[in-house]
Each structure stands twice: as structure tokens, then as C-alpha cells.
């Protein structure tokens, strides 16, 4: 915790699991997905226009764009909280356009929201445990018959993940008084709890200071490198995108204006105009 930025990789993610590393890596390996001609409009406002791209398994992609460009809407489409008006979404080659957010969560989709959600009736550990994979022996009937079957085990996993994500606060903290950055870290821990195969982070580093940001990025990069998780990061901070991603997609007013490797995209004329605000 003392020094935020160290050069050696953390490589602690492997300690999160007891099973042999190889099988874990096989099981957790990220999955790819694709969007084809996706359009979304909110009662008149067209938030996404003809969005098509393909992201292969284990790829790390940053999404940049101005406020209101449609980044969060794009995350909603990927995670299934919004169904596109037109277009197609595929998960690992299977059609997922009409599949629910729950179906996608079972496939390994995990999402960190732009505005962190802390479940206030629950303690920090319980908040993290909410992210546990839903299919593991806790179907409706078995969880009614054996309500505490996996509780202890999941709690231990949650505590390990919290340490991994540098959450120092203990259970006695009430959710109301938690610092914003901690809530963000709790969200990340909750997402990692679900063994994500696709991890979508919507502005994870907003409102964090330099040190916290570096620490957060290090955890994410360590995790996705260990398990080849597919990663989508929405971020205004270019440094975060440079650290976490190899590819970037720039959005403007619901359209893709650039897509490719991070540096060329950031040097793209349209993107520069956008960031310097020269555009009319």
C-alpha cells in the first residue's frame, strides 16, 4: 500500500484461486463479442448510430469521447441493460441481441458503473459478494433449503478480492460515509468476484487522485493479464487508456470516428479536435 506505482507486476491475481493456475486460466479466459449496425435512441435522441466493431477474446479496448457521446449507452448495450433498436450483438459467435443482462452475466459479463452503486442495506463484504457467479449451486430451491451452503466460502473469496483491490475499510464503515474512490474499488471487487470474462469499466478512475488511479490501474492490468480477460474501459483520462488498453475507439455524437491502436487514434485529427474542443 505504501508505494502506489511499482514497476514489477503485482501478479497476485493467481492467489485469488486455489485450483491449478492452468485450469483457471482455461476456465476464465475472456470471450470476444461483436456489435453490428447497432442503433439506440431514447425518445427522440439518437444516442448510438450504426455502431459496428468486433472485439476478440482477451482484447483490451478503450472507449473515448465527449460528454454525451454515447459511451455509457454503449456499455449498457454490451451488458444487456439496453436492447438496441436496430442491429445485432454477438457473444462468442452466439447471437445475444435479445438476451437479458442476466444471461450475459452468467456468460461472464461484469460491469462497473459510472456512478458507483453501494447497496446500503449490506456491509462492504456483502456488497462484494453480490457479484458472485449466480449459477453456482444456488438455484432457487437449493438456496431455500440450504441458505448458507456457500456463504462462508464466498465470504472468504470476497475478503481476498477486497485485499487484492486495496480496500482497507472494514465492515464497520457505513456505506453512506465511504469515500467515492473506495466505492469505485468496491465496484471493481464486486465485478471481479464474478470471475469476469468480459469486464466493462465505465469511467473507473473519475474523481480519484494520481496515486489511487495508478493503484487501480495496476490491479486491473494484473487481473486481465493473468486471466486474459476481455476488457472495455471508458475513460476521459488518456493516461488510463494508454496504461490499460492496446486499442481505442473514439465516439462522437453516437458515431465511431476512429478505431485502432491507442496512439494513432489519439493522434487522429478528429480526436484531437474533439479533445481540444475546437470542433463547432
Amino acid at each position: 500500500m505504501e508505494t502506489a506505482m511499482s514497476d514489477e507486476p503485482l501478479d497476485k491475481a493467481v492467489e485469488l484461486v486455489e485450483t491449478p493456475r492452468e485450469t483457471q486460466e482455461q476456465e476464465r479466459r475472456g470471450i470476444g463479442f461483436a456489435l453490428k449496425g447497432v442503433e439506440v435512441s431514447y425518445s427522440g435522441v439518437q444516442a448510438l448510430k450504426n455502431i459496428s466493431f468486433e472485439i476478440s477474446s482477451g482484447e483490451r479496448v478503450g472507449i473515448i469521447g465527449n460528454n454525451g457521446a454515447g459511451k455509457s449507452t454503449l456499455c449498457d448495450v454490451i451488458s444487456g441493460l439496453i436492447k438496441p433498436n436496430v442491429g445485432k450483438v454477438t457473444y462468442a459467435q452466439a447471437d445475444a441481441t435479445r438476451k437479458s443482462a442476466i444471461w450475459r452475466a452468467q456468460k461472464g459479463m461484469r460491469r462497473v458503473f459510472q456512478h458507483p452503486v453501494y447497496f446500503e442495506d449490506l456491509s462492504i463484504v456483502e456488497n462484494v459478494m453480490i457479484g458472485s457467479p449466480p449459477s453456482r449451486g444456488d438455484g432457487i430451491v437449493s438456496s431455500l433449503l440450504f441458505p448458507r451452503l456457500f456463504y462462508k466460502e464466498q465470504r472468504e473469496t470476497a475478503i481476498r478480492i477486497m485485499e487484492y483491490c486495496n480496500i482497507a475499510e472494514n465492515d464497520n464503515h457505513s456505506g453512506v460515509n465511504l469515500p467515492y474512490a473506495t466505492k469505485k474499488r468496491i465496484e471493481l471487487a464486486r465485478a471481479l468476484m464474478g470471475n469476469p470474462k468480459i469486464l466493462v469499466l465505465d469511467e473507473p478512475a473519475a474523481a480519484m487522485d494520481e496515486e489511487e488511479r495508478a493503484q487501480y490501474c495496476q490491479v486491473v492490468i494484473d487481473y486481465v493479464e493473468t486471466f486474459s480477460t476481455t476488457l472495455i474501459v471508458v475513460e476521459h483520462d488518456v493516461e488510463v487508456i494508454k496504461t490499460l488498453c492496446k486499442r481505442a475507439i473514439a465516439l462522437d455524437a453516437g458515431e465511431i470516428i476512429a478505431d485502432g491502436e491507442v496512439i494513432p487514434v489519439l493522434r487522429n485529427d478528429k480526436v484531437i479536435d474533439l479533445y481540444l474542443g475546437k470542433r463547432v
Partner: protein, 311 residues
């Protein structure tokens, strides 16, 4: 002493009912008055399938069957039939749920035109614990209601399934993104409703004080709205405490109705007036519980009660 025991027993029943209403509110975002219909229905069903000669095992088996039936009914009505109107405002949904209640009551009237008579294996036997005489049904009520309510608190706070329910109640979108299925939550709520509403109905209708048979069940379950109001329909703990408070004040004032009348007349004559009004059982049973609720609304600051439901 008997006032205390009776009010504890009645309070625990109010608590069962109020907690069901609060749970429904947390998940569906409106006060589902239709749930009270199940509480009224349960004792009629039990009465039709049992007689005073039924053994305790048959009686319990019938109760279990009815819990199962009411769970299904709640799932179909509260989460199936209410689905098409999910876009209406919550005020409209409350009105729809009131119609559901009256439709249920009409059904009861059609199927059991001459009422029903619930006989339990327990009857009006009484027992003596620590040299205190109390009705066996009161003791059973207390025991069962406490187990169920604490069981529910345990499930909500100490199990993954309960935590998922609370998470879903606070933010459905986020919970769905983490794989908490709305179907799962609705199924759970239906099961809780089936168990708690049936128990509340059957125990309220069992012979013994202060309960007077199946027909008055709906009236008593309406009183359980008072703790729901006090808890601002979202705080389970306040709901729990206020159930007992309401029951106690209700039982206390009906036991002391004569002195209350004397006091009332004394106050009136202090102003040099005289009145022919005599406060009767209605005062204790109808005025008092809701007077407490209204008073609580005024004096308890709303910041004490977190309103975390998202309509």
C-alpha cells in the same frame, strides 16, 4: 399481565403482515394492499379442509398445502397480473391492488356464503408457564411468529439469497447487471408471502382472544397498515417495533375503555360541557391504531427512516 401477553401475540401477527407488505413495497415499489386478501383467504381454506376432528398432523399438512397454494397465487397475481400495468404510477398500482383485495373478498363471499368455522386442534386450551395462565394459541402464535420473523431477518441479512433480494430492492438495474434475476427475487417474495400471509391469517382466525373468527381477519389485517405507515413502508426494523406498540396500545385501551370514557367525560365537563358520546370498542380498534400512525408520521423525522425503494 394478560394485556401484555395478548398484545404481544397480536403484535407479532401485525408484524408478520406488515413485514410482508414492506417486502412487497421494497421489490415492486408500491403498497400492495391485495396481499391482505391472501390473509383473509387462508383461514377459509383451512376451515374447508379440516374439521374439529382433524388430527394435528392433518391440520399442519393442510396449512403447508395452503402456504404453497398462496405462494403460487401471489406469484401469479402480484408478479404476473401486475406486469401489464408496470408502467402505471405507484398510486394507480395501489388502487389496482385495492380492487384485487375486494375481488378476493367477493370470491370468498361467493364460495363461502355462510362463512366458515375454523376449529384448530389447539382450541381454547390454556397452559400455565411460570405460574402465568395463558391461552395455548397465544403461546403458539408468539412462538411461530417470532421464529418466522427472525428467520426472515436472518435470511435477509445473513444469506446470499437474502442479500441479493436487498440489493435488488435498492437498485434493480445494477442488481441485474450482476446477475441477480428478477424472477429469482419475485419467487422468493412469493414464498415469503405464502408462508407469512397464511400463518397470519390462520393464527388470527383461530379461536381465542382477541380474535373472533374468520370474518374479522381482514379487519385485523387492515390494522397492520398502521405499522407500515409508521415505518414509512420501507424500514423493516421500525415496522417490527411499531407492530408491537400498536397492538399494545390497542389492547390496553380496549381493556381500559371504561376509565378512558371517564377521563374523556371528565375533560369535557372541565370545559363546562356535557356529552352523551361513549367511546366503544371502535375507539380502541379503529381510532387508536391509526391515530398512532398519524402521530408517528408527524413526530418521527423522516431522516430517521431511509426510504430506499425505487418506484
Amino acid at each position: 399481565m394478560s394485556v401484555l401477553v395478548t398484545s404481544l401475540a397480536l403484535g407479532s401477527l401485525y408484524c408478520l403482515i406488515a413485514v410482508v407488505l414492506v417486502l412487497h413495497f421494497k421489490v415492486s415499489g408500491f403498497l400492495n394492499i391485495g396481499v391482505l386478501g391472501y390473509i383473509a383467504l387462508a383461514p377459509y381454506l383451512v376451515a374447508s379442509f379440516t374439521s374439529e376432528h382433524s388430527s394435528i398432523f392433518i391440520f399442519l399438512a393442510v396449512c403447508l398445502g395452503i402456504m404453497f397454494f398462496i405462494s403460487l397465487l401471489s406469484f401469479v397475481i402480484d408478479f404476473g397480473l401486475f406486469k401489464p400495468i408496470s408502467r402505471l404510477s405507484s398510486a394507480m398500482k395501489v388502487i389496482v391492488s385495492i380492487s384485487v383485495l375486494f375481488i378476493t373478498l367477493t370470491f370468498i363471499d361467493i364460495i363461502w356464503p355462510s362463512g366458515a368455522n375454523l376449529e384448530t386442534p389447539v382450541g381454547t386450551k390454556s397452559i400455565s408457564i411460570f405460574s402465568i395462565d395463558l391461552l395455548l394459541i397465544d403461546a403458539i402464535t408468539l412462538f411461530v411468529a417470532f421464529i418466522v420473523v427472525f428467520g426472515l431477518f436472518f435470511i435477509l441479512s445473513k444469506t446470499i439469497m437474502g442479500n441479493r433480494l436487498l440489493a435488488f430492492a435498492q437498485d434493480q438495474q445494477t442488481a441485474r447487471a450482476y446477475g441477480v434475476s428478477p424472477l429469482y427475487v419475485k419467487f422468493l417474495i412469493s414464498v415469503f408471502t405464502g408462508v407469512m400471509a397464511s400463518l397470519a391469517g390462520i393464527l388470527l382466525a383461530s379461536p381465542g382472544s382477541p380474535r373472533v373468527g374468520v370474518t374479522s381477519v381482514i379487519f385485523y389485517s387492515l390494522i397492520a397498515l398502521s405499522p407500515v405507515i409508521i415505518a414509512r413502508h420501507s424500514d423493516l426494523l421500525i415496522c417490527f417495533i411499531s407492530s408491537f406498540l400498536v397492538a399494545f396500545v390497542q389492547i390496553f385501551s380496549s381493556a381500559n375503555i371504561n376509565s378512558i370514557n371517564e377521563g374523556f367525560h371528565g375533560i369535557v365537563s372541565n370545559f363546562g360541557l356535557s356529552t352523551a358520546i361513549t367511546l366503544g370498542p371502535t375507539f380502541a380498534d379503529r381510532f387508536v391504531p391509526f391515530a398512532i400512525a398519524l402521530l408517528a408520521l408527524i413526530i418521527i423525522p423522516s431522516r430517521w427512516i431511509r426510504d430506499d425503494a425505487n418506484g
